[in-house]
């Protein structure tokens, strides 16, 4: 079993950013848990894409039953630990808490979930789930992100053999490479993957499907395949001066910041292009890492930005400047080729926004070629894999898919729900065909 945490350099740029929501201690957690009203037909559970029994796990914290609490969470969401830290709880469970309607602050569901899962799963020698006898069935997962890990984990818990193939050096997908460090550091994401391995999941990194192994080989060797491909490279603007140092794709920059050894060079003026949550993440990270100034450039109005309001509010608090209704025209470079500004069109005028770094957060490409390795798997007009929402079944009945490659880019919790639903569907299918 690979210890992924040991493969990460100790000092990384992201380690400079501390948790915004630190782990609660036992007294704090119990105090907060006792506030929970234990709603029936609870709105937090309804709001959760994985339908975690939130009142159920919170009451278990209140009673001191931390392992039972963790099990309650993980039965519905096997990545309940990272979801506790990365979920936009403000618009999901906490945003639905009845306390929001009663002049009070909602229950800190995310932090309680972290408390339960972190403490309930730390001890690998005392697993919260028992292992089941091997069924002889084998599944392969393409990509080691949340959707694949959930699919693999739930099937492994039922005694099926699950092998995950990942082209990167580290598993975990965006949890490892893309989450804002003040929510989740890469080593914590890697630790969760180690816990998933302890459920019986095998992970092979540095293996690219389509290159190192073909789809046909996987279909031949395994009883089913899950495509948890995620998304591809950051999109480019296609404007003059874009190519060259100083212009980065947002997710690529974040990955570097999270995983590369050492600290970043001093950040000067940063201009982020985009209005989604990735754009907000990059902007906030740069601001927190000490950039001289951070501007976000968005082509429409601020109200139309797709990023969450709470992230926008956070960015404002951290000093990010918003430039709306601005269209990038060119990246301005000096004679030496260094980025000096991003030229935008705003209100009919051309304005040069000073920049030493331009980060592009305008979406990611789709990984069309991997899907094409599997006959019968179709892509929609956007390039997303076509899969049934409830079961993850694609046009090939032995191939399942879920997560960002299907939905075009949503939350980790949505990916986990997809992987889990596919696993439940497949396990039910196999159980009935056995019986």
């Amino acid at each position: 079993m690979t210890a992924w945490t040991e493969k990460l350099p100790g000092e990384r740029a992201e380690t400079a950013l501390a948790d915004k929501k630190p782990l609660m201690d036992a007294a704090e957690a119990r105090l907060e848990a006792e506030r929970c009203l234990y709603c029936a037909d609870a709105p937090c559970t309804i709001a959760c894409p994985t339908s975690i029994d939130v009142p159920g796990f919170i009451k278990r914290i209140a009673s001191g039953n931390v392992r039972g609490s963790a099990r309650t969470i993980l039965e519905q969401n096997i990545l309940g630990y990272s979801c506790a830290r990365v979920c936009p709880v403000e618009v999901l469970c906490e945003g639905s808490c009845v306390y929001t309607a009663w002049q009070d602050k909602p229950i800190a569901i995310g932090r309680l979930q972290r408390y339960a899962t972190e403490n309930g799963t730390l001890d690998l020698a005392a697993p919260v789930f028992g292992a089941k006898a091997s069924t002889g069935k084998r599944v392969a997962c393409v990509g080691a992100g949340p959707a694949s890990l959930a699919f693999a984990a739930y099937l492994a818990m039922e005694g099926h053999k699950a092998v995950v193939f990942e082209k990167r050096a580290l598993p975990g997908g965006l949890n490892t490479t893309g989450v804002a460090p003040y929510k989740l550091h890469a080593d914590d994401a890697a630790r969760e993957v180690e816990w998933v391995q302890s459920l019986g999941v095998e992970i092979r990194t540095g293996v690219e499907v389509g290159k190192d192994v073909t789809g046909a080989q996987l279909l031949a060797e395994y009883d089913a395949v899950f495509l948890g491909l995620g998304l591809g490279d950051d999109n480019r603007l296609g404007i003059p001066g874009e190519d060259g140092p100083g212009v980065v794709g947002a997710t690529a920059w974040i990955e570097q910041m999270k995983l590369a050894k050492g600290t970043l060079p001093k950040l000067g003026h940063v201009v982020v292009v985009g209005g989604g949550n990735t754009a907000l993440d990059v902007a906030r990270e740069c601001a927190l890492l000490g950039a001289e100034a951070v501007m976000m450039v968005y082509r429409r109005g601020i109200a139309e930005m797709s990023g969450y309001d709470h992230e926008l509010a956070g960015a404002r608090k951290e000093g990010v400047i918003f430039v709306d209704h601005a269209t990038p025209l060119a990246v301005v470079r000096d004679a030496a080729g260094a980025v000096r500004a991003l030229r935008v069109s705003k209100g009919g005028a051309e304005v040069d926004l000073p920049a030493a770094l331009v980060a592009l957060a305008i979406g990611q490409s789709k990984l069309r070629s991997v899907a094409s390795q599997f006959p019968g798997v179709a892509l929609d007009a956007r390039g997303c894999v076509v899969a049934d929402a409830a079961s993850g079944v694609t046009g090939n009945l032995d191939v399942f898919s879920g997560g960002d490659c299907v939905n075009g880019g949503k939350e980790v919790v949505n990916a986990v729900a997809d992987g889990r639903n596919a696993a439940r569907f497949l396990h039910a299918k196999w159980s009935t065909s056995h019986g």
Partner: protein, 447 residues
């Protein structure tokens, strides 16, 4: 401001708030600080032959985020020499002549009772309280609750005491008995001038599951202690009211979970002339008397009562036997959609714990046939649209509501669920039904 001064069985004091015989009334220094804080009287920690105590000796139960809902102790009577206590009593009375200093006593033989009483009365106390209630340690030695559980012993020892006592005698009763009224009657038969109750309830506070030793733990073991605090108030209220109703005219000093002026007012309304407080002081300090005094005074003023004595016993006539309750009286649960937060605790409580008549907005369309009602009872126009709770506001199937209060009790929002009276102009009690021969309910064993 209403007059708070009291007179219970001849013991006078500036207000009805006394420290109970317990650790807060252990020393003269404490009692004087309590008087400075505003307490009107104190019942001195029980005197007798000094004892030795254990470490530890207290236990508590917290509820949700509240500390010390219930409290227990295995401490015995005073561990200080009698002469020291007497000197301090003398000093307290010298400095605070208008405050009530009652001394709690516990000993064994008639001779010892007589000797002890002479000594404490010589020290200047205003009254005596006989500790027939302590349910731990002393009862194993034939004192405390082992006396209070035997009406004959209560009468006999009270008689011994009255042979020599020059000050009023209150008998402190134990709740660890089948019928506290019988105990009160026994005290009166022995000549008691009044009773005080309740003493603590025999209890184990819990178990240390790692050590398999109950709490409070004293090394490798524990013992039954005396339970008190807010959790015991309802038990105490009942016992006080039972004596007030059934042993008419016997002055009562009420004890058990008093923490606020409202608690005190309830004890007074059910027949107590004074209240005694221990746990709340151990938890929060003497300073709580500020709220007790001005809270009670405000309430009396607001209700046109010039003296606290007007409140004593006011609610006793309404404490009836079940058979005298009006079976025609009807209340229905009403949920205020404007304040409902949609938690649906009322729904689950009603469905699982009551009479299955509250339903969620979400499930209304798919509602299964009612367990015991015929036909749908959905009100035509439910709730305003656009509320945040919106469709989550539950609704009451009114013909099925028995008016049990459970929904209101579990609702976290004050005044969101109210129990509204449905006047029907009728009145009928069980006793009246039985009297007119209508005491048989169909569907019984012989039907």
């Amino acid at each position: 401001m209403a007059d708070l001064s009291i007179d219970i069985a001849g013991i006078k004091g500036p207000n009805p708030f006394w420290l109970a015989s317990a650790p807060p009334a252990n020393t003269g220094e404490q009692v004087m600080r309590a008087f400075d804080a505003g307490w009107g009287g104190a019942v001195w920690k029980t005197l007798g032959d000094p004892i030795v105590n254990t470490s530890s000796r207290f236990g508590a139960i917290d509820y949700a985020n509240g500390k010390v809902m219930g409290f227990n102790n295995i401490e015995l009577i005073t561990d200080r020499p009698l002469a020291v206590n007497l000197a301090e009593i003398r000093e307290v009375k010298r400095r605070y002549p208008k405050h009530a200093v009652v001394v709690s006593l516990m000993t064994e033989t008639k001779h010892d009772w007589h000797t002890l009483i002479r000594k404490v009365e010589d020290a200047g106390c205003d009254g005596l309280e006989l500790n027939f209630g302590c349910p731990h340690g002393m009862c194993e030695r034939g004192m405390g609750s082992s006396v209070g559980q035997e009406p004959k012993l209560i009468t006999e020892i009270t008689r011994w005491v009255k042979e020599v006592a020059r000050t009023p005698v209150l008998v402190k009763l134990t709740p660890n008995t089948g019928d506290v009224v019988e105990a009160a009657q026994a005290a009166r038969a022995g000549g008691a001038d009044g009773v005080s109750l309740i003493n603590t309830i025999k209890s184990l506070m819990g178990v240390d599951l790692e050590r398999m030793v109950p709490n409070p733990r004293v090394g490798d073991g524990s013992t039954n202690g005396g339970y008190c605090g807010p959790a015991v108030k309802p038990i105490a209220l009942h016992m006080v009211a039972a004596i007030a109703r059934d042993v008419r005219g016997l002055p009562i000093s009420g004890i058990g979970g008093v923490q606020t002026w409202r608690d005190a007012a309830e004890f007074l309304a059910l027949g107590s002339s004074t209240v005694q407080v221990c746990t709340a002081v151990m938890h929060l300090g003497y300073r709580i008397v500020g709220d007790l005094a001005d809270g009670l005074s405000e309430w009396l003023d607001a209700h046109g009562m010039k003296s606290v004595r007007e409140l004593v016993g006011r609610a006793v006539p309404a404490y009836k036997e079940w058979g005298d309750l009006d079976l025609s009286y009807k209340v229905l649960a009403k949920i205020d959609p404007a304040t409902c937060i949609g938690c649906q605790r009322c729904v689950v409580a009603c469905q699982d714990g009551a009479h299955q008549c509250i339903f969620t907005g979400r499930e209304e369309k798919a509602r299964p046939p009612h367990a015991h009602a015929k036909g749908p009872a959905r009100p035509p126009s439910p709730f305003p649209v656009g509320l945040l709770a919106g469709e989550r506001v539950p609704w009451v199937d009114e013909p099925e509501c028995v008016g049990c209060n459970l929904c209101q009790l579990v609702c976290p929002v004050p005044a969101c669920i109210t129990m509204q009276e449905v006047p029907n102009g009728k009145r009928d009690t069980w006793n009246e039904r039985v009297a007119r021969g209508a005491g048989k309910v169909p569907g019984g064993i012989h039907d």
